[in-house]
Amino acid sequence: MKGLSRSLRYFTLLAGEYIALSLVIATAGFLLYLLRSNGANPEAFPIMILFVLYLFLIIFSMGHYMIMTSLVIPFNCTRKSLFWGTQYMMLLIAGTICILLGTYFGLVTDVGLHGFFRLLPAIAGMFAASIGLGALLGGIILKFGRAAVIVMTVFSGILGGIFGFCCSAFSDAGIDTVFMTFFSENARWILLTGLAVLLSGGSINYIVLGKSAVTR
């Protein structure tokens, strides 16, 4: 696909920026978590952060598709290159987060790397789901532009709420174990579901994007 390399180049650049942003959010979350919980539970932290980042990815995707159609398509990036470049970028972000998480697990938690690898399919599945959902919502926004503002506001609200909930909920001992168990036992199903969401959301996005116009 001609022009894909330019798209990949640009989205690597963007990925770097967004990974940095994710780290900032993670750190902020970590600090908040330390402040709000009595007795920091290092096991719970990654789960909480993951939830936050999943939601962040969804919201970020919506904003991303909105920006990109008015930015790179006028610069003659084909819609196909934009689509694949975006998926690549999401993968980069998700992959980097996973690596960082794995490091955290290995260094800080009791379950260590072994526990991390058991969870990994579920984590990957959740990432796939959020990327897919983001693509789906991005597609909806492209098609029904005005819905964008409403959707983004709602989701930001939800994100804020869950963020707050996570901070307090996970400070209670035990919930993290529940989640960890759920994730490890159903890892494969979560992965498959996630991939299914990714595929359907991505396909809808691909179709909508393929016919989209640059508007003001």
Binding site: M1, R9, Y10, L71, V72, F75, N76, C77, V214
Partner: protein
């Protein structure tokens, strides 16, 4: 440097049920400066958008060098449509800083000229660390212009590039454009409302009215066949019988009309009339304004609106 033409055939564009462009045929050649003139709402931006694959056509074809432009990187690599940046929105591309915007352009345009971009940023005193949405209207126009010029695209389109620029800046833009054109032979198509200033730049002028091409002709040939006739009303009517007459202006016994002569035609002799040349701006008002009601004799009525004097409308 490619020598391809950008050709569109029977281009129709609808937004929902509303048809904006009604079957446009256009052929744009290399090494030309074209002017695109038309009222707000005539469909200029829509036309430019569909010609450059930024919007899909409803029907019809657009090709560059024989290749369809839609989703075709090989064709798109030779094209640049630098859109007007909307000062009203704070999201989308407008949320980027100028330097990030230019960086993105430099990645996607294969022939991007970094030195030219840097020189223009300096000359125009553009603050690159500012977000686009925070720029003044004039500065936004500068960004649009820099993208267009530095893209080095064979077919470059600019939509109202001088909106918001003061006189001195406009003059600087015209000179920059000419300098680039004479050096590279790129084709530029410029849509503008500031017609009087720009008419000397346009080798060919295209009038777009209500989603149709009214005419496309060498600017000079067009202006040579346009005359503004004024005098006693009966004399004016008598002298212009059988000619394509537009925009009648009346006051008391006096009348003035704008005449577009076809090849071989002339104003009848023997009447005491003033005849004056018409500039592009006045011509546009005459042809596209609300009082343009005209009389075109039946013998000249084969296609809607205006025929070009002897030459094809494409």
């Amino acid at each position: 440097m490619s020598t391809g033409k950008l050709i569109c055939n029977d281009l129709v564009k609808k937004y929902g049920k509303k048809e904006i462009l009604h079957g446009i045929d256009l052929e744009l050649e290399p090494d030309r400066i074209y002017g695109l003139i038309g009222r707000n709402g005539a469909g200029k931006t829509t036309l430019l958008s569909t010609l450059t694959a930024q919007s899909p056509v409803t029907s019809g074809t657009v090709t560059y060098n024989g290749l369809p432009v839609w989703e075709n990187q090989d064709a798109l690599d030779h094209i640049c449509f630098s859109r007007e940046l909307n000062p009203l929105i704070g999201w989308g591309a407008n949320s980027l800083k100028v330097k990030d915007y230019l960086k993105a352009a430099s990645i996607f345009f294969p022939h991007w000229d970094k030195q030219l971009a840097e020189r223009l940023v300096q000359d125009f005193e553009l603050e690159t660390k500012k977000k686009i949405c925070k720029l003044s209207k004039g500065m936004m126009s500068m960004v649009t212009i820099i993208i267009a010029l530095a893209s080095k695209a064979d077919m470059t389109f600019l939509d109202e590039p001088v909106a918001g620029l003061d006189v001195i800046a406009r003059d600087a833009f015209y000179r920059e454009l000419l300098s680039e054109y004479t050096e590279t032979g790129r084709t530029f198509l410029i849509s503008t409302h500031i017609i009087e200033e720009a008419e000397d730049l346009f080798e060919e002028t295209i009038f777009l009215n209500d989603g149709r091409i009214l005419l496309k002709e060498s600017t000079q040939a067009l202006l040579e066949r346009a005359i503004h006739i004024s005098g006693k009303a009966e004399d004016v009517d008598a002298a212009t019988t059988g000619l394509a007459v537009y925009h009648p202006e009346k006051l008391g016994r006096s009348k003035a009309v704008t005449v577009l002569l076809q090849e071989g035609q002339c104003i009848a002799d023997g009447y005491d009339l003033s005849s004056q040349p018409v500039n592009l701006q006045n011509l546009m008002v005459a042809l596209c304004g609300p009082d343009s009601q005209h009389s075109v004799p039946d013998s000249q009525q084969n296609t809607p609106d205006v025929k070009t004097g002897g030459r094809k409308g494409r």
